[in-house]
């Protein structure tokens, strides 16, 4: 069974869905996905301490902190083979989206999603309609609303999107096998 990969950290913290939400998302997914699916958190070695907080509450045999453990080439291979990738408005979501891998991008309000969203026909974008977007800020500390655009996105909604993305992938595979033309979602 393919991994679910989480990339919770971008290079600009105002774009990061809060780490505690990622942790809660893992809890939601563990309840809903097959028991032989594992969940990996990826990132750089310097993000490892923060990732510890994300994985800590969850069973160590199903949830792994792989921050700093994978070479870039190994990470790319992991992404290509993933069951679903969940990330922010950042490079990993763009990469997995371009591979056609089911990708859920939790997109903050700092930038226009129409301009910066990851491309791919199996990308699902989760964002918040909010009046202060786009603020074009770089740091969470600058946000006058404590990143409400991301903070108010609930883990259960993202979990729904993950299940939807993985189901669409399966549905498309079945349709392809059956030779049915797929148009739209």
């Amino acid at each position: 069974m393919k991994n679910i990969i989480l990339a919770p950290f971008s290079n600009s913290d105002i774009r990061d869905w809060p780490a505690e939400h990622y942790g809660a998302l893992i809890g939601c997914l563990l309840d809903r996905v097959e028991h032989d699916r594992t969940i990996c958190v990826v990132g750089t070695a310097s993000q490892r301490l923060r990732a510890n907080d994300v994985v800590r509450p969850h069973p160590a045999d199903r949830v792994f902190n792989d921050c700093g453990r994978l070479s870039w080439a190994a990470l790319v291979e992991e992404l290509k083979g993933a069951g679903c990738v969940i990330g922010n408005n950042s490079g990993i979501a763009h990469l997995s989206g371009s591979f056609g891998v089911p990708t859920v991008c939790v997109f903050g309000g700092s930038h226009q999603r129409a301009e910066w969203r990851p491309l791919g026909d199996n990308v699902i974008l989760v964002s918040r309609a909010i009046g202060c977007s786009p603020c074009q800020l770089d740091h969470n500390s600058q946000s006058p609303y404590d990143r409400a655009c991301l903070r108010l996105i609930e883990p259960a909604v993202v979990a729904d999107a993950v299940m939807l993305a993985m189901a669409r992938k399966t549905d498309r595979a079945i349709r392809q096998i059956a030779g049915v033309q797929q148009a739209g979602f």
Partner: protein
């Protein structure tokens, strides 16, 4: 497992952990273990601590001891024999009371407002969106302008045919372009409609006045309608077409009915010509030898101080762009001698000219590549050469116009490429769920 063990400790209690050291016990870099088939992990002090940090909350414990235990270890035993002596890692953790403070981001938000602002056009909510590739089997293209405009659109029409190979394309053109449009085979159906007069000098242009006639065309329904005209005066016609998607050049704020829009640089209609700033002599600085009047600085060759510049300044900060500076200098043509003129940007000379009294001074051309650089024009004497008398009245600073234009063909090619990408590869973003 660390968490379970740790949970039963009281504050001040110790957790003592020993695990086989892979460098001493297994003497392997990967599993399986030679000596213990049930061994599931290989440990070094580093990997053991990584697991502890992952399992236990920061500041819930302190590390009191972490060391290799090789007491009595026989380093002479070959790797394919079981080790003798201690071959472990020893780790002792002390549980502590957690401090009241928590680890957090480097900078805490200084002032958080209580409620985020509403999104004016929609209720606050979480959107879940995905892309779809809308059908585009029936396409309407408007190209209503004149002969030259149509010719400049041919490459874009060819691209449309190529990018929408299975589509039925209806093309509406001015009656003067119908024959060429039909001969081009770039559309399946060509319809004539004259919203502009053939010759605008002979007949008044009244685009809105032709709206009712356009509506009488009874065009049917389309998946996609594209207005290929770059100027915006025909864009409203798309609202008179029964189409699922509408595309054209312009800003969304200007044409809210456009589903796919190519916003083009607003400098398109800015002046192509240069802009001028006339600088007076008083905008500059000058050496004391000059005779300054309301209109000019007069320098007499015999009194010029050769040790310094004669004129310098005005240290204006210029925007990036192409510039020319034309100094207004009137030499005493009855004398001989030389002077150096130069332009310096941030004190660095970038263009220089040496003139004699009989020379036409002309313009000094230069480029400012970065914003906020200081512009300076200077007049100097030349080495040991004699200077000549002259009057300086200031000069004219000329900046090239800011218009950034593409060719009409390029705008239209970009529009078709944008539409094709949006309908195909990139898809149209649409909502799946809302919370």
């Amino acid at each position: 497992m660390f968490r379970a063990w740790f949970a039963v400790l009281r504050s001040g209690g110790h957790l003592i952990i020993t695990v086989p050291h892979t460098f001493l016990y297994e003497r392997l870099l990967s599993l399986p273990s030679r000596w213990n088939p049930r061994q599931r992990r290989l440990y070094t002090p580093n990997s053991l601590m990584a697991e502890v940090e992952e399992a236990l909350e920061a500041n819930s414990y302190r590390v009191r001891l972490l060391c290799d235990d090789d007491n009595g270890y026989d380093y002479g035993v070959a790797a394919d024999h079981p080790p003798s002596g201690a071959s472990d890692i020893l780790l002792i953790l002390e549980k502590i009371d957690r401090p009241t403070w928590r680890l957090g981001p480097p900078l805490a938000p200084s002032k958080i407002r209580s409620a985020e602002p509403d999104y004016a056009f929609e209720p606050k909510r979480t959107r879940v969106e995905s892309v779809s590739q809308p059908p585009h089997r029936r396409i309407l293209i408007l190209k209503l302008d004149h002969l030259g405009d149509f010719i400049m659109s041919l490459s874009a029409l060819e691209k449309a045919r190529a990018r929408f190979p299975g589509a039925h394309i209806t093309l509406i053109v001015g009656s003067w372009n119908v024959e060429m449009a039909r001969n081009s085979s770039l559309a399946d159906e060509v319809i004539a409609f004259d919203i502009f007069p053939r010759n605008s000098t002979e007949e008044e242009v009244d685009v809105p006045g032709k709206t009712a006639l356009f509506e009488q065309l009874r065009l049917g329904t389309f998946d996609l309608a594209i207005d290929m005209r770059t100027d915006t005066d025909t864009r409203f016609l798309l609202t008179k077409v029964d189409a699922k998607l509408r595309a054209g050049v312009g800003a969304r704020s200007q044409f809210p009915f456009l589903d796919i829009f190519l916003p083009i640089n607003q400098t398109r209609n800015e002046a192509e010509a240069a802009r001028e700033d006339v600088l007076r002599h008083r905008d500059f600085s000058w050496q004391a030898s000059a005779d300054a009047s309301e209109f000019r600085l007069k320098f007499v060759s015999k009194t010029i101080d050769r040790a310094s510049a004669l004129v310098w300044g005005p240290y204006f900060h210029l925007r990036p762009g192409r510039y020319e500076f034309e100094p207004f200098i009137e030499p005493n043509r009855g004398e001989t001698g030389l002077l150096t003129l130069d332009v310096a940007i941030d004190a660095k000379p970038i263009v220089q000219r040496i003139i004699s009294p009989s020379d036409h001074v002309g313009k000094l051309a230069f480029i400012v590549e970065k914003p906020s650089l200081s512009f300076e024009f200077r007049i100097w004497t030349v080495g040991d050469a004699a200077a000549f008398s002259f009057s300086f009245y200031g000069g004219r600073l000329i900046r090239e116009g800011g218009a950034s234009v593409l060719h009409q063909s390029e705008y239209q090619l970009l529009l078709i490429e944008l539409v094709a990408n949006r309908l195909g590869r990139f898809g149209v973003l649409g909502e799946m769920l809302a919370r």
